[in-house]
Subunit: 230 residues, 4 copies
Amino acid sequence: MKRFMRMPSQKSTADIAAPNIAAPIAASSEGTPPAGPKKPTRERGRARVAALLAAASAVFAEKGYDAATMTEIAAKAGAPIGSLYQFFPTKAVLADALLAQYAEALMALLATVETRAATLSPAELAADLLAVLPSLKVERAAAFALIDARPDMVAQQGALRAGLRRGIAAILRAKSPALPPERAAAMAVTLLQMMKGAAALGDEPDLAHGREALAGLEHAARLFLTDALA
Amino acid sequence: MKRFMRMPSQKSTADIAAPNIAAPIAASSEGTPPAGPKKPTRERGRARVAALLAAASAVFAEKGYDAATMTEIAAKAGAPIGSLYQFFPTKAVLADALLAQYAEALMALLATVETRAATLSPAELAADLLAVLPSLKVERAAAFALIDARPDMVAQQGALRAGLRRGIAAILRAKSPALPPERAAAMAVTLLQMMKGAAALGDEPDLAHGREALAGLEHAARLFLTDALA
Amino acid sequence: MKRFMRMPSQKSTADIAAPNIAAPIAASSEGTPPAGPKKPTRERGRARVAALLAAASAVFAEKGYDAATMTEIAAKAGAPIGSLYQFFPTKAVLADALLAQYAEALMALLATVETRAATLSPAELAADLLAVLPSLKVERAAAFALIDARPDMVAQQGALRAGLRRGIAAILRAKSPALPPERAAAMAVTLLQMMKGAAALGDEPDLAHGREALAGLEHAARLFLTDALA
Amino acid sequence: MKRFMRMPSQKSTADIAAPNIAAPIAASSEGTPPAGPKKPTRERGRARVAALLAAASAVFAEKGYDAATMTEIAAKAGAPIGSLYQFFPTKAVLADALLAQYAEALMALLATVETRAATLSPAELAADLLAVLPSLKVERAAAFALIDARPDMVAQQGALRAGLRRGIAAILRAKSPALPPERAAAMAVTLLQMMKGAAALGDEPDLAHGREALAGLEHAARLFLTDALA
DNA sequence: GATGAATGAGTATTCATTCAT
DNA sequence: CATGAATGAATACTCATTCAT
């Protein structure tokens, strides 16, 4: 439920640079007011930010965006609430930072797949791709919690997806340089959905036919890749 | 004063009845007190309940479970807040009812596919299946918002998924009676993920290569089905 | 906590006549609006009113004035809520009626003591008086719940006490006709407090030295009476 | 979001310390979550807590537990509602604190009587005892309002009474060391009732024969004490 | 700066009372 | 008349955010 907004004093925008692939995952949400997290000046600050983000990730994943309280997050990070607000002037900013961090991590994973792409068989490529999302379990849970609870975050979500698609398309072209960019883009969209399916399966560890189902998904992906890259 | 434990005879809002699939998608939630939604007695009530559910669906879909306020839902339905509480003694109960309604609708759709299954080609079956989830756009959005925001709703979510899987498996066996139940179950899990992917694509209407991607997904599903049912 | 008052439509005032001693226990509370209970026309109505009052007594005694709900009271009496409002247009009126009923019962008890007074020894009189209040356990609990929870009921409470004092004084003069009225009145006030003490002890059945304490109270009352009536 | 279980070290607000009587009037109430009132850290807080308790006492006394609203209490104390909740996480906790404070004050008063007991005549002792309760008028009114309106507070009430009885018994033994403990305990129960009677009389200042009645009660108490301690 | 106490708008839920059926 | 569904003001409690220390 929306809470009173004490009109945060309009800080700067996101600064957490993304390494290299890292698409320019858009910045914030609501209009303009609260912006990006303040970059920690020293080593100590950097560690604290990491702890805060980790705590936030865990709490958001466990309770969802709304039910998570800034106080609990700070407590879990062993940091005073004032400190949390020092780096993340708003709950929304914190959520944004988390999403950005998640995006970065994903892009990094895709980047490694990209470098290997040329040497992989379609089957191996399918397996590698489907393994990307499930590898960041908690972060993904947190990211999903954020995405689903914050309507104003759809932009963020879109940026994230766009980045992923670009990354996947890049991989496809690395594997088959001849593939028309348009075609690669379309295939990336399809594959991303299958990757999400794999991740979803990974979230249900004790699912009846989970393992076979995952194999089935990989099988479908392989068939799809083989058929398309042929 | 504590509310009376109404012990509703819980006949499930379900009446649309799904042929033979219709899993009894559990209802539950917390302890005991606020149980199921009160069934409207008079005609006027029935209409009001429908309006309330529709409003709730829209608001949950738009803002998410937590951010949605009972007041807004009631207002959107043109009903006084007391009226909303007359039928849904708790926000959680309202959410449950919505989920149950969604589950019902889905099962009904799957049931119709099941009756036609035997006469469909693998390609047609793939297309029909992938068309199920996207058809209930708003309801699905609301359902997902609920599922992701309420930790105590995981059970609900599980029941819903289980029902869907059962329905899909039934369809597969209707199509290929020789298919081993275990195999059908595993395939259902895989297919459900692809169906969710199709739904996700449907939610992004202005997506760059959305159409091709959907075709790609259908293609993959067809390959998968053909290969497996062969 | 105060609730919205839908401005009850100004009915008539109390009618439940008090037999004979029954002091004119003042009528209602707040200004003037809701007044007395409607006298039941027929036998059926009389029974229903009795059931409602009994239910109200039990519920008020158990939960206190505020926590008791009109709905629960009606339910406990097996009567529809509308029926409850037929006889008691307001929760306050219901409370008033209960208090009046309690007063009546007490006055009746005192009246019987009065008729015997002349033939009793001081010790017997002490015992009889101290036995009055404890005899109406549930009713007293309800009455106290009402008195303590409704500031606007202080008047009612005062009237009740005044009636009791008058009754006790009458008893004293019946026993010792020579006793100056003023003296009897003052003694009545003292004795009433001791009677309340006895009732309080009766409410703590498993109190350590309850029996001895009650005996002590009777002893004190006897000493007091003997000393004063000498 | 659920409040943290603050597990306060519950040192009891008590500091006024009663000589040797001071019963540890338990605190309790429901399950666990909202435990004791948070002890103010800074000087400012200490003053605010005092103001809040005073306001609560006044409001509870005037309207009773249920009718009193947290908002009104905070307003009367000139404090924002959030501040009230900072120290008393629950209305029940606030009530408990008030009761504990009242118990403390009473025990302190009894303690002073105890130290003088040996030097007092029965008549003086009777007068001193009957003067204890009437001296804390508002606090007592509040305490009674709480006791009578909260079913879950019966325990609290019991503890309070037990403490008082112990205190009175201690006084009796201080006066007459030869008195058997059991006898003292029983007498304490009797005397407590008479003390309550005196307090009740004190609450009706303009009562017709109040003064004589109080004298009568003291007389009865004196007779009782003389007779028993002889 | 760092800290954590203070602030108050916002939310779910209740229930006395009415009045259409 | 009798009934019980409908109504909406009122209340306890939460928590993002600020700012005095």
